[in-house]
């Protein structure tokens, strides 16, 4: 009563919600300055498996799935923003939140599926890096896998990965050459535009496998965990949410622009000449219009850079997941001695990935199917993330607004639809060659 009276007298400030207090209107200059760490996450999204997937999609179905990339861009941005927001509001990583909100029965399979997909992707990425070294040196890819895995495991466990990743990002910038390659390959821009704006669906297992892999490599489950854990490690908080949203959007736009260019370049060079991708050298041919005889070198350097950036992210996000489930100390900023289990999981992930890479036969197939697995588990995690971020109890004033909910649920729907279609196609017609 007294408070109401004081309000009438104007003594109490009108109640402003927490969201209003943290909202910032950013100038263009501030937006440009805000973009930074999100580019690393965006760079990690285009790992060797992603590059292989985009190249295969381009070579197999041409520009036909460009519309999926356009469609998935706002979805990817919104999902990454939700991952960052839920961590900044609850000060808790994703695996812990899943366990404390939904219980171990839901959290454990959801997290473990992500871990399995990560380890397979790591194995596939190691293979791709080995293939890239083979392109550069002529020494068979299989001989590169063990030393590569060992060096990366040591760096991830004992060195400051955050500092290192800032330098590695420059290697991934090599893939910006795909943007130039896309122009120099002289595609039919009318067809590119039409396929980007008008959805085309062909009812074949090839098409739907490609679609699921493309969505799985774009809306990648490990990135949700990585994003949330990054917010916790940096202790960013809710006051910087507007800046984070800009940063995330910039990173994801860059990631999908690169993906789009890879598809256009491979579509123009390989699909139009009916060339299938069976080896890394085939995939590198898409860069020939830009780099001529140096296409292989450029492609190899890019794949190696992408692998060096993404493999530690995959291992760490798997470990963040397991440690969150078990309630262990975790964080890449910690000494191995102060978070032993966290680092043991990273080491084990590297060992298993190495074993998978050594025993696998076809690197390109392994890369592609690891992304299909990501695509199959992505909708489950997207739905759980949506439930978390739509809970007023958990998020308070930072609960999802209508646009976020619509885009988030649309993402879940599209992912489920693609998964159902691929399962149906494979069940009735078998796996494509």
């Amino acid at each position: 009563m007294a408070e109401i009276q004081s309000r009438r007298l104007g003594r109490v400030a009108p109640p402003a919600g927490a969201r209003e207090l943290t909202k910032q209107r950013l100038s263009l200059r501030e937006m440009l300055r805000a973009a930074g760490p999100g580019l690393i996450t965006g760079g990690a999204d285009n790992d060797p498996a992603g590059i292989a997937t985009y190249s295969i999609v381009g070579a197999t179905v041409g520009f036909a799935q460009n519309w999926l990339l356009l469609l998935s861009t706002p979805m990817l941005i919104v999902i990454q923003q939700m991952s960052a927001k839920v961590a900044n509001v609850t000060k808790t990583d994703l695996a812990t939140l899943l366990r404390t909100t939904f219980g171990a029965r839901v959290a454990t399979p959801a997290v473990l599926l992500m871990v399995v997909a990560n380890v397979i992707t790591m194995g596939a990425d190691l293979l791709a890096m080995g293939a890239a070294f083979e392109l550069l040196t002529g020494v068979k890819f299989i001989y590169w896998i063990v030393p590569l895995a060992a060096v990366m495991a040591i760096v991830t466990i004992f060195a400051d990965y955050k500092v290192l990743s800032k330098y590695l990002l420059w290697l991934v910038a090599v893939f910006a050459t795909y943007i130039l390659a896309a122009f120099l390959s002289r595609p039919n821009w009318g067809a590119v535009l039409r396929s980007t704006l008008v959805p085309q669906v062909s009812f074949s297992a090839d098409y739907f496998l490609g679609a699921v892999a493309l969505l799985g490599t774009t809306i990648t489950p490990y990135l949700f965990f990585w994003q949330a854990s990054g917010e916790i490690e940096e202790k960013r908080g809710v006051q910087g949410i507007s800046r984070r949203n800009v940063d995330i959007a910039a990173g994801m736009l860059w990631s999908n622009l690169t993906a789009f260019s890879i598809i256009v370049a491979t579509g123009a060079v390989l699909f139009s000449h009916h060339t299938a991708i069976r080896t890394a050298a085939d995939a590198a041919r898409a860069l020939e219009p830009f780099a001529g005889p140096y296409a292989k070198v450029l492609f190899a350097v890019g794949v190696i850079g992408a692998g060096l950036l993404a493999i530690p992210v995959l291992a760490a996000s798997a470990s963040f997941g397991v440690a969150g489930l078990a309630g262990w100390r975790r964080g890449l900023g910690r000494h191995a001695k102060n978070a032993p289990q966290f680092y043991v999981v990273i080491g084990v992930a590297f060992l298993i990935a190495m074993e998978l890479a050594v025993s696998s036969v076809n690197p390109i197939k392994a890369l592609f199917y690891s992304q299909v697995l990501d695509g199959l588990i992505a909708p489950v995690l997207v739905i759980l993330l949506l439930i978390l971020t739509s809970s007023r109890k958990l998020m308070g004033d930072f609960v999802n607004g209508l646009p976020t909910k619509v885009i988030g649920w649309a993402a879940a729907f599209v992912l489920i639809l693609a998964d159902v279609a691929v399962i149906y196609q494979v069940a009735t017609k078998g796996l494509p060659a």
């Binding site: 104007g10 003594r11 109490v12 400030a13 109640p15 402003a16 919600g17 927490a18 207090l21 943290t22 509001v89 609850t90 000060k91 808790t92 404390t100 916790i232 202790k235 960013r236 908080g237 809710v238 006051q239 910087g240 309630g327 100390r329 964080g331 900023g333 910690r334 000494h335 001695k337 102060n338 007023r392 109890k393 958990l394 998020m395 308070g396 004033d397 930072f398």
Partner: protein, 197 residues
């Protein structure tokens, strides 16, 4: 009792002793993993971020006391003071951590306040003896969690802290004090009364 050291000073002394004995991987009792130390060729290297200039000064002052007693030089070129973009005093969050009983919760409270130098707007232990306070201290959505714990004979530590501190407190509750579970309420504006002038 004269000359007895406060608990944080005792813990820091013990930590320095461990460092000088070669245990450079030990986490600092106050700053935890934000500080990393190495000793090589007589040079003690401090790397990391301190929350304030005072913390940095205090750490450097203590480190320099060991010159001539195991080290020759202190290198603090990579010891920075954390430049916080977020402003304190705007939002706050309430954390509720569950412990086996009041005694364990009290040990946790003492660790947070006396060793980790936590400054909370409110810090209170709730159990069967004072459970009537729960509706005043705990936001309504989380009263159920507290009721369940108290009914089971457990005790909860309820802390209200600035939002900019909440990450650190959440981590300390889960990792240092090993709470059974910790929940955190969404950020809310810190109530401020404007003067009419």
């Amino acid at each position: 009792m004269k000359g007895e050291q406060p608990p944080d000073a005792v813990a820091i002394d013990a930590w320095w002793n461990a460092i000088m004995a070669g245990g450079v991987d030990e986490a600092h009792p106050v700053h935890g993993d934000d500080l990393k130390i190495s000793i090589r060729h007589g040079v003690l290297r401090l790397v990391g971020t301190m929350p304030t200039e005072d913390d940095k000064r205090e750490l450097l002052g203590t480190a320099r006391k060991y010159i001539g007693h195991g080290i020759d030089k202190v290198d603090a070129r990579r010891l920075k003071v954390f430049k916080r973009k977020e402003k304190p005093g705007i939002l706050e969050q309430t954390l509720v951590a569950d412990f086996a009983n009041r005694d364990v919760a009290e040990i946790a409270r003492r660790h947070l306040v006396d060793i980790r130098r936590l400054k909370a707007a409110q810090i209170e232990i709730l159990d069967r003896s004072n459970e009537e306070k729960k509706r005043r201290l705990v936001p309504v959505d989380f009263v159920g969690n507290v009721e369940k714990a108290i009914e089971a004979g457990e005790a909860v530590l309820v802390l209200r802290v600035d939002e900019t501190e909440a990450f650190r407190v959440r981590e300390m509750l889960a990792e240092d004090t090993r709470s059974r579970w910790t929940v955190i309420t969404p950020p809310t504006p810190i109530a401020t009364v404007k003067s009419d002038g």
